[in-house]
């Protein structure tokens, strides 16, 4: 396991909210990727937190692009670098809205074309930058400004959609486990071809919990099984460190929900549906690990 470098690629500081996990994720993604990297960022919190023009906190090149285009831009950029013999890492860093809803066609196309890039979706489970509207990644039961009584639909299964493209590498991560996250980004960037990471990103104002609880909320997501850390290398699944224990024994989903104001409106039925969903997902992953699927 590589030592994590002390060098920082984000200068003090962005204008992200206090306690923003997306900032912590960016810190480790850039540490893993290093100087020879371009970030491609569609409209999201990450595009507005960089600083006030003509200055930026980002000490590596960032290309801010239109919402639906991130993976298409990255595709062209990667082709151009490779054509002139450059190994520069091309990383899309996109929100959940910009991925599961708006950018999905570009992502699908880039994966299908075998683009040599890493696509990272940091998932704060809503359109946070514009004031927390519901996205396809918002979980059932969560209230947002457009679902004030709690969302009635399920979270879209982005990972299953990506998996159907058979990328060379895909993984999940969470800001509460930065070493796991760092190692996964490192590994992804060491493999040529299309790579994908889905990173859970707790958001204090959006999820309505106090800023100091960002790490605890991420850990509760993993300990309850609401978020499972895993990797798929050439299709082969392995469950990662912190989620191995949760595969066997989990805390109740309600422990994760009750620390977040956005689940205040969740009904008993919502909670049992979410719990059942966790159990089914864990069973499905267990069978896949054992080779029965």
């Amino acid at each position: 396991m590589a030592e994590i470098p002390d060098e920082e690629f984000i200068l003090k500081t962005t204008s992200a909210c206090a306690g923003c996990s997306a900032s912590l994720i960016l810190r480790y993604v850039t540490k893993a990727a290093g100087k020879d990297t371009v970030l491609v960022v569609p409209a999201c919190c990450t595009s507005v937190i960089q600083g006030v023009y003509p200055n930026t906190a980002m000490n590596i090149p960032v290309y801010n692009v239109a919402f639906a285009s991130a993976a298409a831009v990255a595709s062209g950029m990667s082709e151009a670098f490779r054509a002139v013999g450059k190994k520069t890492n091309v990383i899309c860093f996109a929100g959940d809205g910009g991925t599961v809803d708006i950018g999905i066609q570009a992502l699908s196309g880039a994966l299908e074309r075998g683009t040599d890039f890493l696509y990272i979706c940091y998932d704060n489970e809503a359109y946070s930058n514009t004031g927390m509207q519901r996205s396809g990644a918002t979980p059932l039961g969560a209230s947002t400004t457009t679902t004030p009584l709690g969302k009635k639909d399920y979270k879209k299964d982005l990972d299953a959609i990506v998996q159907a493209h058979n990328p060379v590498y895909m993984a999940t991560a969470c800001s509460a486990y930065p070493v796991d996250l760092y190692n996964k980004v490192k590994k992804a960037l060491s493999i040529p071809g299309p790579k994908f990471m889905h990173i859970l990103a707790p958001c204090p104002p959006g999820w309505r919990y106090p800023s100091e609880k960002t790490i605890e909320v991420g850990k509760l997501a993993v300990q309850s099984g609401m978020w499972v850390l895993y990797e798929r290398e050439n299709g082969k699944l392995s469950i990662s460190g912190a989620s191995k224990a949760a595969m066997k024994k989990r805390i109740p989903v309600s422990e994760y929900l009750k620390v977040q104001g956005r689940f205040k409106t969740a009904t008993e039925e919502d909670i049992s549906v979410l719990s059942e969903h966790v159990e089914n997902n864990i069973k499905k992953l267990e069978r896949e690990v054992e080779g029965i699927c």
Binding site: D6, E8, I10, L11, K12, T13, T14, S15, A16, C17, A18, G19, C20, S21, S23, L24, R27, I49, Q50, G51, V52, Y53, P54, N55, T56, A57, M58, N59, P178, P204, P210, S211, E212, K213, T214, I215, E216
Partner: protein, 80 residues
């Protein structure tokens, strides 16, 4: 032909001195600290260095460092 492109340059303080956002500030008691590095590791904004000094010009006062400290060596103190 020269195209006009909006290109920003990297600079410390690109979002201003975000330390002014704080209502409470984290203070480290070095006598209690065991140098585990958790505060440095988990600070979302990189405002704690590897010697566990906090940069108060930029620390946003989120309180994460307090929560992840196993020695309870950091306390939040109200700003004057």
């Amino acid at each position: 032909m020269s195209a006009k492109l909006a290109i920003s340059k990297p600079k410390t303080g690109a979002s201003g001195k975000t330390g002014s956002w704080r209502t409470f500030k984290p203070v480290v008691d070095m006598d209690k600290c065991n140098k585990c590095g958790n505060c440095y590791r988990f600070c979302p904004d990189g405002t704690i260095d590897t010697e566990f000094n906090i940069d108060y010009d930029y620390c946003k006062g989120c309180g994460i460092c307090v929560e992840v400290c196993p020695k309870k060596a950091i306390t939040m103190v109200r700003e004057d």
